[in-house]
Each structure stands twice: as structure tokens, then as C-alpha cells.
Amino acid sequence: MVDRRHFIKKVAGGLAALGSWFLLPRSGLAADPVAADTEVATIMDMLPGKKALIKKSYRPPNYETPVNYFDAPFTPNDVFFVRYHNSVIPEVKAEDWRLRVGGEGVSTPMELTLEQLRRDFKPAEIAALCLCSGNRRGLFQPHVPGVQWGSGAIGNALWRGVRLKDVLAGAGIYKSSVEVSLDGADSGMHKSSPDFIKSLPVAKALDENTLIAFEMNGEPLPHWNGFPARLIIPGWTATYWMKHLTEVNVLSKPFDGFWMKTAYRIPRDRFASGQFSSQETLTNMPITEMVVNSLITNLIDGQTVPAFKPLEIKGVAWDGGIGIVQVEISTDDGISWHLATLKQDYGRFSWRQWHYEFEPKRTREFRIMARATSHSGASQPLEPIPNPSGYHHNAVQKIAIQAA
């Protein structure tokens, strides 16, 4: 059990003076639409090694990144969002860490040290977006239970490690195998709590882009993002990106633990995303690929901007790995749309930054919207697609700004 008591510091200055249970003034609430709507105070808090992030829950720690940090192509490690299901999160030491590879689907179970992983396998690197399945859950109407995330449970990073398929090849996978399960070092407070274990179809585990990463943006993974090693499943939501990875098991039948069978499920045929046939029922299926989406990163609802001066609207766009073909901006509440300029392409699993120059030529309110389209032709809906757990919120954002 980790005692973080003496590590946690409150945000300096005014926030600290007010204690952590302060309420932002009414005018400030617009920056956090979830807080405004659920009447929960916005609390900024620092985990050890992190800058102040938006605290959703202390224990287990769930912290989201303020969207203004997304103006950079890669999200710095010390502001990268944190999401846990369980409260017991051991601080794993690199020298003590072992990765066990086994299950009935392999001929030669193995145990690897971090050193062996680095030394014995070919390095691989990929830019990939890490997105919590429930990002923007707090914006669903009506509300659905779960962590009430705003738009900041997302981050883009350059991940470096080794390919899971290379590691599995060493253990010898039987052809009849169905899934590969993933377990990390964290656990619940009680023995009876279901361990957070996820599984992947074998084909996804063997995909050349699926990595066991030990570096993030050129540095070791931060503790809160999975030190010393985590899974990277580019294109798929972060629920599969197991942190503090300790065990990989190749299975001959579908994994039936709570976190696969019951949690992280979406109604079938409601979203255009990938299949997971061994886990599908008649009515629902596991969440898999991210849907096409975009985010305006430098404007907040209710903001005042100077009229008759150029305003650069900035943001990011992404999908589940097909790639973004265009982002359109509307400054008149969706009546007309104009192409934004896409910035550097870091690969189909990275988000894509974009910008658009706009000059408000009147002193009045302007309604700004952004809509991304992927190479598949898929685009964002105007309203989020309802589903019981509030996943895949990819509705076009509507931000009202005041030109004065």
C-alpha cells in the first residue's frame, strides 16, 4: 500500500489558501463544464511527480489534464492523465519487476526481467494516442454513473519498448489460442475485489504495433502511467493499455473476468469500430477502437476575444488508426464549414494537430465548432451516441465566444 500523504502538495497560491474544497467562482465554471453541470467543485491537485491536474477522485487516483496542455503535439509526462480502478498501487522497483508469460496457449512459459526485455528483443517506437474510454462521460445528458470525466482523459506520447508479438514468439503460441490476457501490479483492497485483468484477441496481441513500452517521450514511464512497463495498443481505448504489466497469458478460451465480461461494453452495431468476436454477445461487445473525434484546445465556452483581430483556433483530431483526412471549422453555429490546416503527421495512431485563422468582424457572440473526418469517411455526430456507460463521446464541440 502506498502512503502518499506526505508527497501530495496542494496547488500553490490562492488555491492552497482556500483549501482543496474550494468552489470556483461562477464565471470560472465555464472552463469545466462537468463541474458546472454536476455542481461538484473543480479541484486541482498534484500527485507525486505530476503538475497540478484536475482531480476527479483521490483514491483510486483519477486525474485529468487541463486541455490547454494539448497545444503541444506530445503531452508532457508530468501532466499526462492518470486513471486507476483499484486503490492498491505498489511502487514497482525496476530491478524487482518480472514479466510472466504463460497460459495454456504457450508451449514454453517464461519470466523476463526488464534488462532481458531491453537486451533480447528488437526495440520499437510509436507515436500513439492514449484515450480513456470514458473521456467526456461527464458531458452526457442524461448523466450516466462513472468517473465524470471532462475532455482531459487523453494524451499523446511517443512510446518506446518491444513488440508483444516478439515476446510471445519466444513462448511459442499454439495456433488454437483465442485471447491474450493482461494483468498489472495494482489490486483492490479486498481479496474478493475482481482483479483488473483485460484481454485482447490473439490477432491484436500479435499486431506489429502492439508494444510493451518502458519509455514515454524519451523517459522512463512515470509511476502513475505504469512504471516500469505497460501495454500500448495503438488505436484502441486505454482500458487495454495495462499499466505496471506483470502477466501475459495466452488463453484457449475467452477470458470471463468482470472487467471483460461486464465492464467496458458498448451496444453492438451502434458505433463504427472494430470487432472482438470471442467477447461479443447478442446485444453488446467490448469497446475496442477509438471513434473519430476532435477537440478545440485554446478556447473555452464563454471566453471573450478581441473583435477585428485574427484569432487562431487550435485543436487536435484523431481516430482509431485509419488517420484524419480533414478537420472543418464552423464559426456560425454550423451553417458554413471551412477547412482547417492540418499540422505535422506523426503517424496514423497519433493525434493530428490543426489550426484555423478566424477574424470576428462584429462585436457579438460567435459559435465555434470543429468536425473531424477520417480516411474511412467517418465523421463526428452533432450529438453523442447514447450508451449505458457513457463511452465514445465524440459529438462536435460547440463553444460560444464573445467578440468585444
Binding site: 500523504r5 483549501g19 477522485s57 483514491r59 486503490s87 483492490g188 479486498h190
Partner: protein, 91 residues
């Protein structure tokens, strides 16, 4: 008493600093809610759902904590907890 002391010491090591400042509304069952719910998670999970869950929603959620997440809470305590949450944190 000894059990209580043991529980409190576990609780003390498990909590994050900021969460000690979370204040729940006064009402019957509050202390039980704090001692049982905060064993596994900070109490902001309760305040976060204040505008979201109705009584049926709290019944479902507390039931999930016991039956799925393995919280060792008996039927009598379960009722007190649900009553407190439905009375003080209902949408």
C-alpha cells in the same frame, strides 16, 4: 475496540492527503458510510454522483460495491448506507 483500532490504522495508511478534507453532509448513517465506503475509495465518488443517481441508482451502486467489488458489508449496514446516500446525495 481493537478491531476498530485496526480498521482505523488501515484507513489512515490508505488515504490520500487531500481526501481528508472531503466533508459529507450530516445525517443518520454518515459515520457508517465513511467507515465502510472509504475502506476502498475516497468519498469524492459519492459527491461526484450527487446530481446523477436517484434512490434506485444508489441501491444499484451499493449493491455493485458489495456483490461485484467484494465490499464486506452486511444487509443491515447496506440499508443504512443506501438510506443515507438516497437522502443526502440524490439527484
Amino acid at each position: 475496540m481493537r478491531t476498530l483500532f485496526l480498521l482505523l490504522s488501515v484507513f489512515a495508511t490508505a488515504t490520500a492527503a487531500g481526501e481528508n478534507q472531503i466533508v459529507l453532509k450530516d445525517g443518520q448513517g454518515k459515520n457508517l458510510v465513511i467507515s465502510q465506503c472509504a475502506m476502498c475509495h475516497s468519498l469524492d465518488y459519492i459527491t461526484m454522483h450527487a446530481k446523477i443517481l436517484d434512490r434506485a441508482g444508489w441501491e444499484k451502486t451499493v449493491g455493485k460495491m458489495i456483490n461485484v467489488m467484494g465490499a464486506p458489508i452486511g444487509d443491515a449496514d447496506k440499508k443504512v448506507i443506501i438510506d443515507y446516500l438516497a437522502r443526502n446525495y440524490r439527484k
